[in-house]
Point group: C2
Chain length 319, copies 2
């Protein structure tokens, strides 16, 4: 059941306390697609400039990602981001953003991209997210990411976009900002209560709060689930970790089309997302994921499970 | 196997977005003792002033806590703290601190307190922690808390104190500050490598990183374990949550004297600690824990386990 992702394809220049890279392949759609490609077919929709080469496309093609909807804009320049991370990698400063072909981007989906049953709307202007979502009205599962910028300047449109997806994947601070509720559970429950005023759409039923180095939480109408980040002694570059996480989550769900969206399935999706993200941060940009193997994912899944389980034992408590 | 705790006994004036309290019972030793009292006998060692009344002592006595080593200093005033929390309860400002009888505090342990097999050194000046630790040379399990202040002004003494305990319970930011290592796993492993240059003591074997609303992580020589905080829609007052957590952790370990300190036992202790802390923050100060029941703890333990488990399922990954 193929997955379509619409979002940025970028060149990133990144500096961390452990080194740096100039103009490496990046962008939300790329990180998402590489992660999701371990689970299912993926079509990438997004614009690039004339500076985007075969070498970059080859990184995606090697993972069997369909790049036929990657739109090369004549005379355009690929979206560029330059950032630097602080000593603990939890803060980062954007030093330069050049929208390039992303300015005025109008997603053009081929028949193939529109036929996907699963859609991920990476962080782009919410009007565009709604436009794309409307082009896949029968998608079985639609997930969305966003950022503080759109909450600041286009909140109404973002809320309308959220009302028409199944799953919202945001940083916990963004969930708080979006709802004005400081409590994470309350914030998530409020988003779960949103639904479109008209039409058949159901409103979101799955909220995922990304918590960076602390992991992620899943809130549905039925319950709560949380996982720590996979512990690593060496973290090199967090760029793309959130989109890689989303790729693991949405990819796992796409790979289980015959199953209802049970909490059990969602939890396993969260675990795969956590594992994929942990590999992403071990090297710069897409370097680690580009040469990751399914066996490595399975091995770390077992580790993660072992690290999060405890057994109950009867204990006579006093009082 | 009784537990001795040495630390502050206080009056706290707290303001949160949900209300406030004036001069309520607080202090690290009090929060710890109330939580630990669900598991084992507890002796509290700490000073109070003449303003400390029977009513406050009764809160501890009702949970069968031994308060005979609570030292009432003639003419003294009880330690006082006034603080205010921000909208998301993750930041707080100290508005007033009056050390009172805590200034010049020299812990005096009765024979009974010294006979305990388990010792918790709450956050006090590290010289005092070392002095107390030396008075219980044969304790089976000794845990320690501290704070950024002592890392700033008494780091050498704090390191010496840590070298002589089994378990270090710190906020994750404090672990980073203490070791100068931004990576939590690296920071914990460094502390695990510390051991006294002489004597029979073993050095710490258990590191617990408290992560506030994100939960807590356990790092030992053998492995890693992490738990999210128990999710609550209503959090009223985080004051004392860390000490309540420590009380649950150390209390659970104390209640299992015949068992070696296995990872399995430590994980269950972490879970009980998480549950105790979750009750603490639901109301101001000691209000919720003072009327907590063992049944409520057991019920929430089951919930927490259900919220953190996922099952593996074979999946053919691509690549």
């Amino acid at each position: 059941m193929p997955i379509t992702v619409v979002g940025s394809i970028a060149f990133d220049s990144v500096k961390t306390p452990f080194g740096g890279r100039e103009r490496m392949l990046g962008g939300a759609a790329v990180h998402f697609a590489l992660a999701a490609s371990f689970f299912d077919d993926v079509c990438v929709v997004g614009p690039v400039g004339e500076d985007f080469g075969e070498e970059e496309l080859a990184v995606m093609r090697r993972r069997s990602i369909d790049v036929s909807d990657v739109e090369r804009v004549p005379g355009g320049k690929t979206f560029f981001w330059r950032g630097e991370y602080g000593w603990d990698l939890n803060s980062r400063e954007t030093l330069d953003t050049q929208l390039g072909v992303f300015e005025g981007f109008q997603p053009k989906l081929s028949e193939r991209s529109r036929a996907s049953d699963v859609l991920f709307l990476a962080n782009i202007q919410p009007d565009l997210q709604r436009d794309v979502r409307a082009q896949l009205p029968h998608a079985r599962f639609v997930a969305l990411d966003s950022m503080n910028l759109w909450i600041d300047i286009a909140r109404d449109s973002l809320v309308a976009a959220i009302e028409n997806v199944d799953c919202v994947i945001l940083n916990d601070a963004e969930l708080r900002q979006l709802t004005g509720r400081p409590n994470l559970v309350s914030a998530a429950r409020e988003v779960l209560s949103w639904s479109p005023s008209s039409g058949e759409a159901r409103g979101p039923s799955v909220i995922v709060a990304k918590q960076g180095e602390y992991g992620a939480a899943l809130i549905t109408a039925h319950g709560f689930f949380a996982l720590p980040a996979y512990p690593l002694e060496t973290v090199i570059d967090p760029t793309g970790a959130g989109d890689t996480f989303a790729g693991g989550l949405v990819g796992y769900i796409a790979a289980h089309p015959g199953r209802e969206l049970s909490d059990e399935l969602l939890r396993r999706a969260m675990a795969h997302a956590t594992v994929l993200a942990s590999f992403n941060v071990e090297e710069f940009g897409t370097e680690r994921i580009a040469r990751l193997t399914g066996q490595e994912i399975v091995a770390r899944m077992h580790d993660l499970q072992a690290m999060t389980q405890f057994t109950g034992a009867p204990l006579a408590l006093r009082g």
